[in-house]
Symmetry: C2
Subunit: 311 residues, 2 copies
Amino acid sequence: MSAVYTRVALIGLGLIAGSMAHAMRRAGLAGEIVGTARSAETREIARQIGLCDRIVDTAAEAVEGADLVVLCVPVGAMGAVAAEIAPVLAPGATVTDVGSVKRDVITQVGPHLPGGVHFIPGHPLAGTEQSGPRSGFAELFDNRYVLLTPVEGTDPDATARLRALWEGCGALVEEMDADHHDLVLAVTSHTPHLIAYTMVGVADDLRRVTDSEVIKYSAAGFRDFTRIAASDPTMWRDVFLSNKDATLEILGRFTEELFALQRAIRTGDGDHLHAYFTRTRKIRRGIVEAGQDTDAPNFGRSPVRRDGAAE
Amino acid sequence: MSAVYTRVALIGLGLIAGSMAHAMRRAGLAGEIVGTARSAETREIARQIGLCDRIVDTAAEAVEGADLVVLCVPVGAMGAVAAEIAPVLAPGATVTDVGSVKRDVITQVGPHLPGGVHFIPGHPLAGTEQSGPRSGFAELFDNRYVLLTPVEGTDPDATARLRALWEGCGALVEEMDADHHDLVLAVTSHTPHLIAYTMVGVADDLRRVTDSEVIKYSAAGFRDFTRIAASDPTMWRDVFLSNKDATLEILGRFTEELFALQRAIRTGDGDHLHAYFTRTRKIRRGIVEAGQDTDAPNFGRSPVRRDGAAE
């Protein structure tokens, strides 16, 4: 594949930016990849492992002459970065981001950008429990969705070019309205994360059930919650604060349903429980059929050795 | 390994019983394996695939001459099965079970059993989202915990023999008090399952977020909830009804914590959220170190093709 952009600037060098660097190189999508991060230690590690073609000290330096700028910082930091880079953005450049919330990023970033710069917000639905400049890998986006939420009046050619980059990285690209994105993600990601964090916190609090027991016997369901609850704290703090309305709405519905099930347990209403559990089983079948998970035994995991390494 | 029991009777032929049959054969742990199930269709499938050495029509027939009887039926059915088999149990036989709740099983089963029969309740912490006689496989228990909850005065030799069987099936065996088991499992399994069922139900209810979107974009956290919420409805109904007190206690604590986090989102208290999420990250590290999960990218899953098969 020939390069889609001449120079790509990655602002922030965590899991997503690192994986983009690897994936763009795998397919030759960028003439040059320039990276930067706020922390000197992160920049130093990125230099040592050769994550980008060039690592520079500031976001303003990184975006000079770039025809694509990707904001890979926590949602709460997007506005400040936009203000910093706005004066040096090349005319005709595209600015995108990888934040998990889209309306708030549009509100923060949009006003700073000069005319002639294309702003196309984006969100790759991919991640692991790892973070930092060493955590990226080229396959992260393979067969995963990237959602673009271009605002009205965005140049279709600029959107098509960004789409081509993500498809070159292995992703399936869809476009939707920013508010709709935020509601869908409140259901599929934000509320599940909050619930997982809560459950793990409860387990950690219970002194009668020692930590080591919770850990030893985690395979029985709790294990999946702990994986979700191991995600980057700063990123998730910003997600909840910036997608407040949708998250609170879904949380309200969740609590309502939970109380109904709790009442069924208390009153011994087995029929209610059985009917509810039968209904939820169906949605799982849809996910396996859609190719977004495997129903292989052990949840598709390789057996795990006692030392924690996969066999 | 030489046989640990001369004749093992499996009552109920779902995922756990099927996996026990495969695992016992892999290591030559049973002279003969006799199986039965309430449903004629299940018995017929079990016959066709040669799951056991013999398939018989009733539990009473199955336990004749067996030195180990394993009750593999939903927790709510344990008492009725115990009443049926009690008159035909061989003197000196061991009766165990694989139910997810232990105090209620002891209350249901114990009174039926004649003197001279060893009753040693058990619970293998292993499962998949599959059920039925075809779902078992020999590796299910490899490196997974089996918890035994023998009542006071149980013959240590009988317990040691059952332990040897499970260890031969690949499991790590621990003993604990039945009430403690029920509380630990309420934390590590029962409450997480109820929460996952609830979240999937909420997603299914939301008409503004179409099912297909929830399914397409499930990789962002929700996917793990749907897997948990795809477990067998009858089994889980019985778990909640029979471990009511511990589940309601943990649910109460969960709701309390969730409300505190919800309030932090509403009031914009980012410090509270960040501190909470940092704390929960630690417990995850313990689980990976304990060898109960992998921190490999993509959660140790193989990449999934569009047709849903693992690559």
